[in-house]
C-alpha cells in the first residue's frame, strides 16, 4: 500500500466498511468458511447397530463430540441411503418444491456432520433462500428482542420490555452487566412483557447454573445460553461436556422450561482451537450434537463470532447455511443476526436480508430493541435505531419479519403501565421504592442516559431479596393482582400454566396473543412452492403494511388545512391584459389559496409570494397576482401569466412551491428559468427569482438561478407528498374557468 494514497483512495478509506476486519483465509487458524483441507471425508461405518467409524475417525479415537453423536445423534435406519446420496442431488432436493420438508429432514437425520456440511456448501445464496423457506420448522415466522440497559434499571427494563412486546417480539432476552442483578432483571422484564402482550417468552442469559436456577424458580420462561462447541478442547474449556449439556437440557424440560442451545461458526477459531477445520464443518458437529442431546432448537449463525465468519470469503453465506443446517436437523432455528458483524449499514443489511425474506423461526436471535449503547450483549445487528427501517423493509417486500408497527400513544400508555406495575410489585414485596422522578424518566426515556435518577444499588438489593427470601413468580403474580394489575397477573399465571401443559417444549414453540402454541407440531411449515406455505392473514398484512409514517391524500389535505390563511383573496373574477412595460404577472396554480397553503420547502404559499413580490419591487417593477384555474401545468400557468403581463414576462408558482419565469412568445413547455426542486427552496431563492423576472422584464439577461443540489434523498422524502398535492391540484382544476385576480395581504 502506498504511503501517500491518491484522493480517491483516501476518500474510500474513510468509509465505514473499512473499519471492519477482513482476514486472508488461513485454514491452520480455522479462518476458512467452507471446505478446509483439515475437514474429514464423510464416512459412517455401522456394525451391529453401533457406529464404529464417524467421518474418518475410528471409534477408539472418538472425541467427546464424536462419541455422543455416534451414540445418540444419527438415524441409522436412514443412514445407508443418506450417506450414499450424491451431495449435489441432495442439494437439489432442498430447493425442489416437489420434495417435502419431511423427506429432506429424514435424510439429513442419517447424515454425518461432514456429509451434511458438504451438501450444504453446494447451495448458492438464492438456493439457500429457497431451502430455508421450505425447511424451517414453524410455518409462522417470528422474532426475538434483547431488552437490557446499562444500569439494570427495573423500571426502564419493564418499559422497554412492554415496548418490545408492542412491536411484536414474541421472545425477549435480557442479561446483566452485573451478575447479581439477574433475578431483578428477570422479574422486571417478565412484568413488562406481560404488560405489552400475552404470551411473550422471557429469558435471562447468565451463567449455565444460575440460568437453570432462574428457570426452576419460574422467574424466566425459556433459556438459550447453553453453549455447544465443535471441538473437544473448546467444549471442555467452556466447562462442559456433551453429557453435562444433555443433562442440563433434560433439567430444563423437567421443570417445564423451553430451552435451546447456542453455537455458531467462528467460535472455535476465535478461541484459538479450530484444529485446522473449517468453520462450517465445526458448526456441523455442533448442530449434530444439538440434535443428539435432545435440544428442541439452536441459536446459531455466528452469534458472538459472526464477525469472524464475516471476515473470510463466503463467511456470510456460511452463517446462513448454518441456520439451514439446524432446520434440516429438524430443530428450531434462531438465526443469528444478533451480535453486530459490521460497522457498515450496507454489509449488515446484506447479511440479514436473505434470511429476512426466507423467514425463520426467529429471524434475529437478538434484535436490540433498545439503543446500541444500552445493549449489554454488545450492539446488535439490528437495534432500536433500526426499528423503523426494519418495519419499512417488511412493508417493502410484503414479508412477515415478526414485527409490527406500534403507535406512539399506545406505547406511551404501555410504558407507563409497565413502570407502574413494577413500582407497585417492588413496593409491596419490599424490594424497592422508586420515586416519581425516576418513574417519569423511565416512561419517557429513549435509553438509560435519559434516566439519571436511576440508582444502581436498587436492582442489586432487590435481587438479593428475591434470591434469599426467596420470591417466586407466584408472589410476583399475587402482588400484581393485589395492586390492581389483574390483567398482567392473569397473563403471567397463564405462562406458568403453560409450563404444566408442556406443549411449548416442542420444537420451535411460541405463543400467539391468544396463547395458542405455534410449533413444529401445531403449525408445521408446509411450503411446497409458490402459493403454499405461510402467508400473512389479511389482519397481519395490515400490521405489516400500515406503518405509522404512511400518509393518504386526506392526511395531506388535513395538514394543509392547518396552514389556511385569509391573506390571499380573490379580488376580481377575471383578469385583463396589462399595458405597463414594467408589469410582471405572477400566476398561481388552482389549489393556491384554496386547498394548498404550504409549499414543500416549508414556506407558506403567501411567504413565497411575498418574496417574489419583494424581488420585483427591488427591480422597480410592478406586479399583479392572478390564479389560473383551468390547468395545473406550471408551463401553462407561467405562460398565461406572461400573456397577461404588460412586460410579457410572467412567473408561474405552483402551490407546492415549484416556480418558473416565462415569456409570452415561448412555447408552453419552454421557460426562462425553472426552480424544479421545490423542497430545497428558501426565501432568498424566491427573492432572487423575483429579481431575475424583473430584469427579464427590463430586457436584461440575468444570470439564471441554479437549483440547489444536495446529497439527500429528496425524491424519497417528497415524492409521495407530491403525488398527493398534485391530486389536490387536479381536484381544483375547472376546465374553461377564467383567470382570477388575487390580492395578497403583505407581511408587515
Amino acid at each position: 500500500m502506498s504511503d501517500h494514497p491518491i484522493g480517491r483512495f483516501r476518500f474510500m478509506d474513510t468509509q465505514n466498511v473499512n473499519l471492519d476486519g477482513f482476514a486472508v483465509p488461513d485454514p491452520t487458524l480455522g479462518l476458512v468458511a467452507f471446505g478446509s483441507a483439515g475437514d474429514p471425508e464423510p464416512s459412517l461405518v455401522v456394525e451391529d447397530g453401533r457406529v464404529i467409524e464417524l467421518d474418518g475417525r475410528a471409534e477408539a479415537d472418538f472425541d467427546v463430540i464424536d462419541a455422543f453423536v455416534a451414540a445418540h445423534g444419527l438415524d441409522l435406519a436412514a443412514a445407508p441411503e443418506a450417506m450414499a446420496i450424491d451431495e449435489v442431488a441432495f442439494a437439489r432436493m432442498l430447493v425442489d418444491p416437489a420434495v417435502p420438508r419431511t423427506e429432506v429432514v429424514r435424510l439429513a437425520g442419517g447424515m454425518t456432520p461432514a456429509k451434511l456440511a458438504r451438501a450444504l456448501a453446494v447451495l448458492r445464496p438464492a438456493e439457500l433462500v429457497m431451502a430455508m423457506t421450505k425447511c424451517r420448522a414453524r410455518r409462522t415466522p417470528s422474532n426475538q428482542a434483547h431488552v437490557t440497559n446499562r444500569s439494570d434499571d427495573p423500571l426502564l427494563l419493564a418499559a422497554d420490555a412492554a415496548t418490545a412486546a408492542a412491536f411484536g417480539f414474541r421472545e425477549i432476552e435480557t442479561t446483566v452487566p452485573v451478575l447479581g442483578d439477574a433475578p431483578s432483571n428477570a422479574v422486571a422484564v417478565s412484568i413488562g412483557a406481560a404488560v405489552g402482550s400475552p404470551g411473550v417468552l422471557v429469558q435471562c442469559s447468565v451463567e449455565e447454573a444460575l440460568e437453570l436456577e432462574l428457570g426452576m424458580r419460574g422467574l424466566v420462561s425459556y433459556a438459550e445460553t447453553v453453549s455447544l462447541y465443535g471441538t473437544e478442547q473448546i467444549f471442555v474449556d467452556g466447562d462442559d461436556t456433551p453429557w453435562s449439556k444433555a443433562f442440563l437440557t433434560s433439567a430444563y424440560a423437567s421443570r417445564g422450561v423451553k430451552m435451546r442451545v447456542t453455537s455458531g461458526g467462528g467460535a472455535e477459531a476465535l478461541m484459538g482451537g479450530a484444529q485446522g477445520c473449517s468453520m462450517f464443518y465445526l458448526e456441523a458437529r455442533c448442530v449434530a450434537l444439538a440434535r443428539a442431546i435432545g435440544a428442541q432448537g439452536v441459536q446459531n449463525g455466528g452469534i458472538d463470532s459472526a464477525a469472524v465468519a464475516g471476515a473470510v470469503p463466503g463467511g456470510v453465506r456460511s452463517l446462513m447455511a448454518e441456520n439451514l443446517m439446524v432446520m434440516l436437523r429438524g430443530l428450531e432455528a434462531c438465526t443469528g443476526n444478533d451480535a453486530l458483524m459490521s460497522e457498515s449499514d450496507v454489509r449488515r443489511t446484506s447479511r440479514t436480508h436473505p434470511i429476512f425474506i426466507a423467514g425463520s423461526d426467529f429471524i434475529c436471535s437478538g434484535f436490540g430493541s433498545i439503543q446500541r449503547y444500552d445493549n449489554m450483549f454488545g450492539p446488535s445487528q439490528w437495534n432500536a435505531e433500526d426499528l423503523d427501517d426494519y418495519l419499512a423493509m417488511q412493508r417493502d417486500w410484503g414479508v412477515d419479519g415478526g414485527l409490527r408497527t406500534a403507535s406512539e400513544p399506545e406505547v406511551a400508555r404501555l410504558r407507563e403501565r409497565a413502570v407502574d406495575a413494577v413500582r407497585a410489585v417492588y413496593r409491596l414485596l419490599g424490594l424497592a421504592d422508586f420515586d416519581d422522578i425516576w418513574a417519569a424518566q423511565a416512561v419517557d426515556a429513549a435509553g438509560s442516559k435519559d434516566v439519571p435518577a436511576a440508582d444502581l444499588m436498587t436492582p442489586l438489593a432487590a435481587s438479593r431479596l428475591i434470591r434469599d427470601l426467596p420470591i417466586t413468580m407466584l408472589e410476583v403474580i399475587d402482588a400484581l393482582a393485589e395492586t390492581g394489575f389483574e390483567v398482567e397477573a392473569e397473563r403471567m399465571l397463564a405462562m406458568l400454566r403453560e409450563r404444566v401443559r408442556g406443549d411449548y417444549l416442542q420444537t420451535a414453540a411460541i405463543f400467539d396473543e391468544q396463547l395458542r402454541v405455534l410449533s413444529a407440531v401445531t403449525d408445521p411449515n408446509d411450503y411446497a412452492g409458490p402459493g403454499t406455505g405461510y402467508s400473512p392473514t389479511p389482519a397481519r398484512q395490515v400490521e405489516i403494511d400500515a406503518i405509522r409514517q404512511q400518509r393518504s391524500v386526506g392526511d395531506i389535505q388535513l395538514e394543509q388545512e392547518r396552514s389556511r390563511t385569509e391573506a390571499l383573496q380573490v379580488s376580481a373574477p377575471s383578469a385583463e391584459a396589462g399595458h405597463d412595460p414594467r408589469e410582471v404577472v405572477i400566476g398561481l396554480s388552482p389549489a393556491a389559496g384554496r386547498a394548498i397553503w404550504r409549499t414543500l420547502c416549508g414556506l407558506t404559499v403567501v411567504e413565497a409570494l411575498d418574496e417574489l413580490l419583494a424581488g420585483l419591487e427591488e427591480e422597480g417593477c410592478t406586479a399583479r397576482v392572478v390564479r389560473v384555474n383551468d390547468s395545473l401545468d406550471l408551463g401553462r400557468i407561467g405562460l398565461t401569466a406572461a400573456r397577461l403581463a404588460g412586460s410579457g414576462i410572467g412567473i408561474g408558482l405552483q402551490a407546492k412551491g415549484t416556480a418558473l419565469i416565462h415569456r409570452r412568445d415561448l412555447a408552453p413547455l419552454a421557460n426562462l428559468e425553472l426552480y424544479s426542486v421545490a423542497p430545497t427552496l428558501t426565501r432568498a431563492a424566491y427573492r432572487r427569482l423575483g429579481i431575475n423576472a424583473g430584469r427579464h422584464a427590463k430586457g436584461a439577461t440575468p444570470e439564471p438561478e441554479r437549483n440547489p443540489y444536495s446529497d439527500e434523498a429528496i425524491e424519497a422524502r417528497y415524492h409521495t407528498t407530491v403525488v398527493s398535492l398534485v391530486a389536490i391540484e387536479r381536484g381544483c382544476v375547472v376546465p374553461g374557468a377564467p383567470v382570477e385576480t388575487m390580492t395578497l395581504q403583505r407581511e408587515a
Partner: protein, 129 residues
C-alpha cells in the same frame, strides 16, 4: 397432530401436585392456595410430550423428555448438583457410579445410563477428576 395440552381434555393435564391445570387460578394464588408444585410439570405429561415429539420425527427430543420425566422426582438442588458433577474434571469414576446408582434407585434409569456412559467416555478422554 394434537398437542398434549390442547386435546380438548385440558383438565386431564395435571400439575406435578395432581391439581388439574385449569384449576390453577388467580383466585387460588390470591388465597395462597397455589404452591410451587402446582406450577411444576407432571412426569406423565412429559412422557406424553415425548410421544408427540417422537411421532413428529424427533426421537432425540422424545428421549430428552423421557429423561426429564425422571428428573421431576429430584429436588432442584440435586439436579443442579448432578449437573455440576457431570462438568469436566469434577468427578471421579466412583463419584459418577454413585450418582448413577442413586438415579437407578429413584427409577431414573435413563439418566443413570447417561451418567454411566459419561463415566466411560470421561475415563477415555481424561475428563475425570
Amino acid at each position: 397432530m394434537d398437542p398434549v395440552g390442547e386435546t380438548g381434555e385440558v383438565s386431564r393435564v395435571r400439575a406435578r401436585s395432581g391439581t388439574p391445570v385449569d384449576q390453577i387460578t388467580l383466585d387460588g394464588v390470591l388465597a395462597g392456595e397455589v404452591s410451587l408444585d402446582d406450577i411444576r410439570i407432571h412426569p406423565d405429561t412429559l412422557l406424553a410430550q415425548a410421544e408427540v415429539a417422537t411421532r413428529a420425527g424427533n426421537a432425540q427430543l422424545g428421549e430428552n423428555f423421557r429423561r426429564a420425566a425422571e428428573l421431576t422426582a429430584l429436588t432442584d438442588e440435586r439436579v443442579l448438583a448432578i449437573y455440576e458433577a457431570l462438568r469436566p474434571h469434577r468427578s471421579s469414576a466412583a463419584d459418577l457410579d454413585l450418582i448413577a446408582a442413586e438415579l437407578d434407585d429413584l427409577g431414573a434409569t435413563r439418566n443413570a445410563s447417561l451418567v454411566r456412559e459419561a463415566a466411560r467416555v470421561y475415563a477415555a478422554r481424561g475428563l475425570l477428576r
